[in-house]
Amino acid sequence: MDTFNLLMGGFESALTPINLLFAFAGVVLGTAVGVLPGIGPAMAVALLLPLTFGMETSSALIMFAGIYYGGMYGGSTTSILLNTPGESATVITAIEGHKMAKAGRASQALATAAIGSFVAGTIGTALLVTVTPIVVKFAVSLGAPSYFAIMVLSLITVTAVLGSSKIRGFAALGLGLAIGLVGMDPVSGQKRLTFGFAPLIDGIDIVVVAVAIFAIGEALWIAAHLRRTPAHTIPVGTPWMGKEDWKRSWKPWLRGTAFGFPFGALPAGGAEVPTFLSYVTEKKLSKHPEEFGHGAIEGVAGPEAANNASAAGTLTPMLALGLPTNATAAVMLAFLTMKGIQPGPFLFENEPDLVWALIASLFIGNTLLLLINLPLAPLWAKLLKIPRPYLYAGILFFATLGAFSVNMQVADLWILLLIGLLGFALRRFGLPVLPLILGVIIGPMAEEQLRKTFQLSSGSVSGIWSEPLAVGIYVLIAVLLVLPAVITYIRRSRGRHDVVAEAVLGEVADHPKHKAGVSGTTADDDERENS
């Protein structure tokens, strides 16, 4: 009951009129920015971060929760109406969602996405409340060797398992780790990679890196390849669902949630795998399998719920271990650190009021999202028509403003430009963004744990495997790295084409050129199956 009381306390502090106003503003802004084409949830959150600078910590957290869910919901609206997923997690939603919109069922697609997100987000947050304290209890007992192992695991999975090209994943990881090294080494006081340049001594601000990689890099990349005839937008009325739609949606919502949360909560999370699994499951279980590929509502309801539940799940390692596992959580961690909050197992002990206010505002934000977005959907759809020159000029404008307002230093803007150009290069050369951004954030944390490990073992290498959990994780990493090769071998000897294995493991030898990884494979394979 202790948890329950704490949560109620959280609601008490989140439900004051002024905080409700912040939550409302967060949801509206988050959705508005998230819905803009070319802006995924991570970029939306990164761009809106500066708005919370001047605020009190608890109000900022509450607004941030609204931005977080709003940004994600906005992304799914874009993918349904434009067939243009802002990030890999909504790729699956776009497959059926856009087909539905084309067939004149945009309202129903948006409705099932919105209500599904609400259901999944609420259940997911409730699971977060139940699971996180348990994880925290477990986490306090872990020592540096286990933490280091968990961090290595999350970097390796993001780099080698989820992406489509391992080599390019590792290249991106290396670049991210190098950026993370910049600045004064906290243990020895030595300056690393600062080249005698004073503003670099404090390290590169994570907000600047996030804005550079997500906003500047993306805007430059699009600017260089701007489509002269903008994609066709489908007009939409107020979302609603008929009785039949409800009947066909509620089970996929629940199943999607069941897929999404655990995957999100793993230190190697990600929404790609659960959304894909949900899609495949719904297709198998559906009474209307023939509608899949032509706009089946189950194919929107399930993956969208999985996506949101996984987003709630992501907050478990993020709050309990201080470990972000996706881009949006990485930005959120940057936000917390900026506010002087150190996520990790002691967060719940040190700042219970803040944590529970944050969790309560996740519930509130989620509810506001549903109330606001159902009636406002036609308005959001209009945002999709914004002329592209203004849209991308606006992104660059606000990105500059945001990065500048962190420290009011022009040096930050030069760094923004350089890392922005790097972000452009990533997109040009097919390097995944996620390993880089997680490398920047997790790299320094992992180094700290590694050095603590050696301190505990008095310099002996055996310290690294001195805890049972650490040993288990290294075995798991080895399995993850070897498994794809084994599967390829088995498949070759059987001559079979295993869709699931390929989609989950991304690039496997015989697809040297496909880029979109999980998502691309899904669409391709479905077309192959249908034909």
Binding site: P50, A224, H225, L226, P230, A393, L450, K515
Partner: protein, 167 residues
């Protein structure tokens, strides 16, 4: 895709692999110049992790070169407004970056209202906005709006520059 085109793509990507190698070498050299005094409390010192990072970069650079040479070429990132049938349009990108740099040079001297207006106007025009008056109005509104919005709403003072006293 023509053979010439592929060869050119390969060269550009090998250049990127060379960039990775360069970063790897820089990280290595930088780490080797650190003074590490051995202590019980910090057995591996400040060098170990940079060496490891340098290793990841160098190895991935080599692996990437081999993959590219074998014909595993990158595909650009797809997106809603992205048209990959054309190569990067430098006629858009170069002026756009120019305006970005101009803003950096101007922001403290001229102030955000002026530099921000130029930034938005310049970028939108580089991207093909042709309604000059409308673009100028939007630029001014955004720059003024953000200046006062940050000041009044968030208590953040953006540089006023030469207009300080007026604003």
């Amino acid at each position: 895709m023509s053979a010439v085109n592929t060869a050119k793509k390969k060269r550009v990507e090998l250049l990127f692999a060379a960039f990775l190698l360069l970063v790897g070498i820089i990280v290595f050299v930088d780490a080797s110049q650190l003074h590490a005094t051995y202590s019980q409390a910090d057995a591996i010192g400040p060098k170990a992790v940079p060496y490891l990072v340098s290793g990841i970069l160098v190895l991935s650079s080599i692996a990437l070169s081999i993959a590219v040479a074998r014909g595993n070429l990158a595909e650009g990132d797809e997106g809603e407004d992205v048209d990959l049938s054309q190569p990067s349009d430098w006629k858009v990108l170069v002026p756009l970056l120019g305006f970005f740099v101009l803003n950096l040079l101007l922001i403290n001297w001229a102030g955000w209202v002026i530099s921000g207006t130029i930034l938005f106007f310049g970028v939108a025009t580089s991207l093909g906005a042709r309604r000059w008056a409308l673009t100028a109005v939007i630029s001014l509104v955004l720059a003024f709006g953000s200046f006062y919005g940050f000041y009044l709403g968030l208590g953040i003072k953006l540089p006023a520059g030469i207009l300080s006293g007026v604003l």
